[in-house]
Amino acid sequence: MSILVRSDISVLVQGITGKEGHFHAQKMISYGTRIVAGVTPGKGGDWVMDGKIPVFDSVKTAIEATGAEASVIFVPADHAADAIYEAVEAQLRYVFCVTEGIPMQDMMRIKRYMQTSETQLIGPNSPGLLSPGKIKLGIIPGEVAKPGNIGVISRSGTLTYEIVNELSKAGAGISTCIGIGGDPILGTGYPELLELFEADPETEKILIIGEIGGRFEENAVRYISQHNTKPVYAYIVGKSAPEGRRMGHAGAIIEKRAGSAAYKNELIKNAGIRLASSIEEIPALLLKS
């Protein structure tokens, strides 16, 4: 089983008729994910994927017809906040938001709105989740990873694929790989996932791929020190980034000392977590210990 979701969970795709949504829905289906519905307002009644997947006008009607429990959101940024609200209000259990660029004030309102909700939001700006051989939710290329015992939590997309791919080449496999997202305000942080990996019988080692900006990794270190017994490895990207410039991701900007790679690396080392100081070191670090 994957962490977080069952491998056979029914999934709907919000924004399935868009270019990205359609492409990745296809990839998820090919990987074996049970995509049962798409949602695009105004396109209800259409069928996509060679007439195999029905499209609905609303998340609610899609759930009523198909029993979907999770959603992957590919809706463009100017309507993505609304798509999250709709998913939350329809009481989906898991929502993976791939969309990048949702205004911060929208995200803050959503987080406050979700305070009394049972829905778990991953992202936004998350590449999703991949449990090799079991399930793929989002955009992580299935080819890069093979099954194994390493759990990966990351704030990046391609960087994660690169690392997971190198691990594969070195003979190491992945239990579940999950991206929490590159935005500054996220639905789910490291601690909740660290807890799941700790409890996951298929995971023996945990790798954190962090970035500059924010206190996400600080929270992770605090959690790990108190709760994790499995070995944790970490790599923080962005040590050469200048202060005050946004390095692509809205969340990857050093605003305070606490956001710098140097500060994060220091915390990680002090907590006794195994640190890769360069991307090239990662496979050896995880394999040797």
Binding site: E20, F23, H24, A77, D78, G101, I102, P103, M104, Q105, D106, M107, M108, R109, K111, R112, Y113, I139, I140, P141, E143, V144, S154, R155, S156, G157, T158, L159, T160, Y161, E162, N165, E166, G182, P184, I185, I209, E211, I212, G214, R215, V237, G238, K239, S240, A241, P242, R245, R246, M247, G248, H249, A250, G251, A252, S278, I279, E280
Partner: protein
């Protein structure tokens, strides 16, 4: 997106926040005109998007037409933290009894806005905070309920504002919240907010920073987008939907994905190289984006080597190759180009590029090492 002081003050004024009288000038003639309206005393302030203007001599008092001319010319000759001063703000000089610091910021870690207030306003706020973290009062704001009146009062209490000014203070801070919320600001700041002549509150400075992700829904703010301040290459990249940050080295980099791009820069630095830029072409980039990115790197005179690092996922390596070829086929390449393609359709991509004279490498570490060698000339 940061907005210049004089523009931020225009927004303040629209929200009823009191500011000094004044106007912007680009030379001493205009400055003198403004001085005639505001004399006897004016303050002349460099308009640059950086902190530390005061300490760099960018804010000065002028008490005569002669001083205005002299100081205007002085300030327009300054370069503050790498930014040449092109505009000044000429304002009436305001008597200052007391200075406060007020801001509404987006606390990304808490996922909530926060109200900040300090009685140590002015140039030395950062020192004050460094010495004593309780020098700033911070209060989280519920993003749904908004800033509440009693919270503003608690800030007034915390900064020991005279009670007869509480109502005016509440008007200003609630207006600041409205400004923050209605314009999708990332942060808004008044430093200093001063008491003048005993009973007047005036915002002497104004900083407004808009959330880049939300600018699309505030077309009225794009007029504040200061092209002169923007680097030419950054502006061009933005137009093509690329994420570009200028750095001070000589290795031009193009990568797909922000994390992978940062990792590439880190590797270059580890090897003693100096990246000229961060350039993320994003996920699923088509060939036009790739060629636009490449052109930006080739225009950059500082660049000695170009490094292209693509891990195909959504992005297809053959599409990347197509974009690169469209440039190479029309231009003579004088610079060495190191390329590493992996993932989706990498084989096809490399096949397409095999006669284009690129230096093809297999992995990210190798790509970095060779690029650094080429840039430093330490080895061929």
């Amino acid at each position: 997106m940061r907005i210049q002081e004089y523009q931020s003050k225009r927004i303040f004024s629209h929200y009823g926040i009191p500011i000094p009288k004044g106007r912007v000038a680009i030379n001493a003639i205009i400055a003198d005109h403004i001085y005639e309206e505001l004399k006897p005393d004016v303050v002349i302030k460099a308009q640059v998007l950086t902190s530390g203007r005061g300490k760099a001599g960018g804010i000065r008092l002028a008490k005569s037409a002669e001083q205005v001319e002299q100081i205007t010319n002085d300030i327009l000759g300054l370069t503050i933290k790498g930014m040449p001063v092109k505009k000044i703000l000429v304002e009436e000089a305001v008597k200052i009894d007391q200075e406060y610091f007020i801001a509404i910021i987006t606390d990304k870690d808490a996922g909530m806005p926060a109200l900040m207030a300090s009685k140590y306003g002015g140039m030395d706020i950062e020192d004050a905070v460094r010495e004593n973290s309780s020098a700033i009062y911070t209060l989280p704001i519920d993003p749904l309920a908004g800033l509440l009146e009693f919270q503003v009062r608690s800030a007034a209490l915390a900064v020991e504002l005279p009670k007869q000014l509480w109502n005016d203070f509440a008007d200003i801070v609630l207006a600041l919240w409205k400004l923050y919320e209605e314009n999708d600001a990332d942060s808004v700041e008044i430093n200093p907010l001063v008491i003048s002549e005993g009973d007047k509150l005036i915002a002497l400075d104004a900083k407004v920073n808009i959330d880049d992700n939300a600018i699309y829904r505030h077309p009225e703010l794009t007029e504040y987008f200061d092209l002169e301040e923007e680097d030419r290459m950054e502006y061009q990249a933005k137009k093509y939907g690329l994420s570009y940050v200028k750095l001070d080295g000589d290795i031009g980099c193009m990568v797909n994905g922000a994390g992978l791009a940062m990792a590439t820069l880190d590797l270059l630095s580890d090897q003693g190289g100096k990246p000229a830029n961060f350039l993320d072409i994003g996920g699923g980039a088509n060939s036009e984006k790739v060629s636009s990115g490449l052109k930006i790197l080739m225009q950059d005179e500082r660049v000695k080597v170009i490094l292209i690092n693509i891990f195909g996922g959504i992005t297809r390596c053959d599409e990347v190759a197509k974009g690169l070829l469209s440039v190479f086929n029309n231009t003579t390449i004088e610079l060495p180009v190191v390329i590493r393609l992996a993932g989706t359709n990498a084989v096809e991509g490399l096949e397409m590029l095999k006669n284009s004279g690129l230096i093809v490498v297999e992995n990210i570490g190798e790509a970095a090492r060779i690029s650094v060698q080429l840039s430093t000339g330490s080895k061929k």
